[in-house]
Amino acid sequence: MKSNREKAIEKIIFLCAAVSVAAVALITVFIFMQGMPVLKEKGLLTFITGTTWAPTNGSYGILPLIAGTMSVTIGALIIGTPTGVGCAVFLAEMLGKRQARLARSAIELLAGIPSVVYGFFGLAVIVPAIRGLAKALMPGTDTTGLSVLAGAIVLAIMILPTIVSISVNAVEAVPMEYREASLALGADKRETITKVILPAAKSGIFSSIILGMGRAIGETMAVLLITGNVAVLPHSIFDSAATMTGTIAMEMSYASPEHQQALFAIGIVLFVIIVMLNGIAQAVMKRFGRGEKA
């Protein structure tokens, strides 16, 4: 028999667990409530495919922002994926246990550094370097260095910890017998890694890339400081760009009511993208029998 007190306590604890549900529900409701009017008035399609973002003229087309977000994200993945997976292979297969643990905690330190610090580092070091590079490559052009490339490099560093730590777990989860069988067949270490271990760990590696992508898309402060925030379609990696997140953060403080609603509508698009990506990553991990998250 449970006493009334026990029952009451169980109820309270259940309510605390349900706070997450309430929070997600409230977040969804409030973002949609604020953003829907603009989407309804302009139409979702024109909002997403419109090429002019000029809030002061009442023109809300977020294609340049989507293009900005996508170009820095894809750039970050192009740089970050091989680096991260290579690093994971190195830690899991080529390094001793103790050194690997040390290196892993060092990489986890990277994850703890606030994004605004990355942004500041990018602004102080990477942006001037790119300005110099652009001047050397294309004399006569005038670039600030605030560019897609700068954003991609900094985001690549920021998503490394995600890719490395989940990929290391995936590589370590490959059964020892696979390695032994491959080595016994006469394959050397490289062949074992590229032909046996990486294919066996591909679902975990794939999820790590998807999660890294989600992180890159959702990142705000770093890209805000280094991409230049110019809402036009970027044509080269040296062009400035504006991202969805950066635009929300920068324009919210001075936006008119309708403009504010448009920013919330960007939030809706962002929210949907991120929830979908995280869903994909989790489904992939679950389907391959590795339900645990890193």
Binding site: C16, L109, V117, L160, T245, I248, M252, V275
Partner: protein
């Protein structure tokens, strides 16, 4: 040696070399970023900087009011999120019977963990600042961050709860203790360090967070007197200084201070969880 084997060996050497270089670059990036900020910033962290009020929009003076504001906001978020998060973890690990409701709650907790901080900022702005009429204040910022760090605390506490042996619970229950009494007196004390680790990790996340804070605390440089005042956290201050190029010296000093605090926090969390593992 025949040529096939030779070629294979060369390929393997090259492959190994590439992997070495990649790993080297990654670790070098870590050293360079942290090292650069510290080298440029630490010389400017003086007593005057830490104990002075900001003047001239942060161009001169110190950051005392900003440190106080940061303390207010992050402490508030941890104070609110910890009891809720620990209780939620207790529910998942001690009370729930793997049913549909639990699956739904777990799913939503995962979703919450994946939401980008700018979305939390938008939510905090629409809900706490506008809807509940709290305005740009420490309270709005603290509540927004509390929602944001909740998954961190839940996850860490749950990991700790899983390590408490079943026999402890059985022993306590066999002695006639009720379920709640068992949790309160036996289970939770066993995973104190796990809870503290989660709390510290949440604190670290809250201190470094900028986007969510930017839309909810306002950004005032004045010394806050109560939780209803607008304030500015160190991360937000760093953004303002960097984006407006007000003072290179103060920007580096703020960045270095922030990095030092975050490194200390993460090291403490690691140390506590390592000690707990050994015990």
């Amino acid at each position: 040696m025949n040529t096939v084997i030779k070629r294979k060996m060369i390929k393997s050497r090259v492959y190994g070399g590439i992997v070495w270089v990649i790993a080297g670059i990654t670790l070098a990036a870590l050293v360079i970023i942290i090292g650069y900020i510290l080298v440029k910033g630490v010389p400017h962290i003086t007593w005057e900087f830490l104990s002075g009020e900001p003047e001239n929009l942060g161009r001169d003076g110190g950051i005392l009011s900003i440190i106080i504001g940061t303390l207010y906001v992050t402490a508030l978020s941890v104070i609110i999120a910890t009891p809720v998060g620990v209780a939620a973890a207790v529910y998942f690990n001690e009370y729930s019977k793997d049913g549909k409701i639990v699956k739904v709650i777990r799913f939503f907790t995962e979703v919450l963990a994946g939401i980008p901080s700018i979305i939390f900022g938008l939510f905090g702005f629409a809900f706490f600042v506008i809807q509940l009429g709290m305005g740009w204040s420490i309270l709005s910022g603290g509540l927004t961050l509390a929602v944001m760090i909740l998954p961190t605390i839940i996850r860490s506490t749950e990991e700790a709860l899983k390590t408490v042996p079943m026999s402890y619970r059985e022993g306590s229950l066999a002695l006639g203790a009720s379920k709640w009494y068992t949790i309160k007196k036996v289970v939770l004390p066993c995973c104190r360090s796990g809870i503290v680790t989660g709390l510290i990790l949440g604190l670290g996340r809250a201190i470094g967070e900028t986007a969510a804070v930017m839309l909810t605390v306002g950004g005032s440089l004045n010394m806050p007197a109560s939780v209803f005042d607008s304030t500015r956290t160190m991360a937000l201050h760093l953004y303002m200084l960097a984006s407006e190029g007000l003072s290179e010296e103060k920007t580096y000093a703020t960045a270095a201070l922030l990095v030092i605090i975050v490194l200390l926090i993460n090291t403490a969390a690691n140390e506590i969880s390592r000690r707990a593992m050994r015990a």
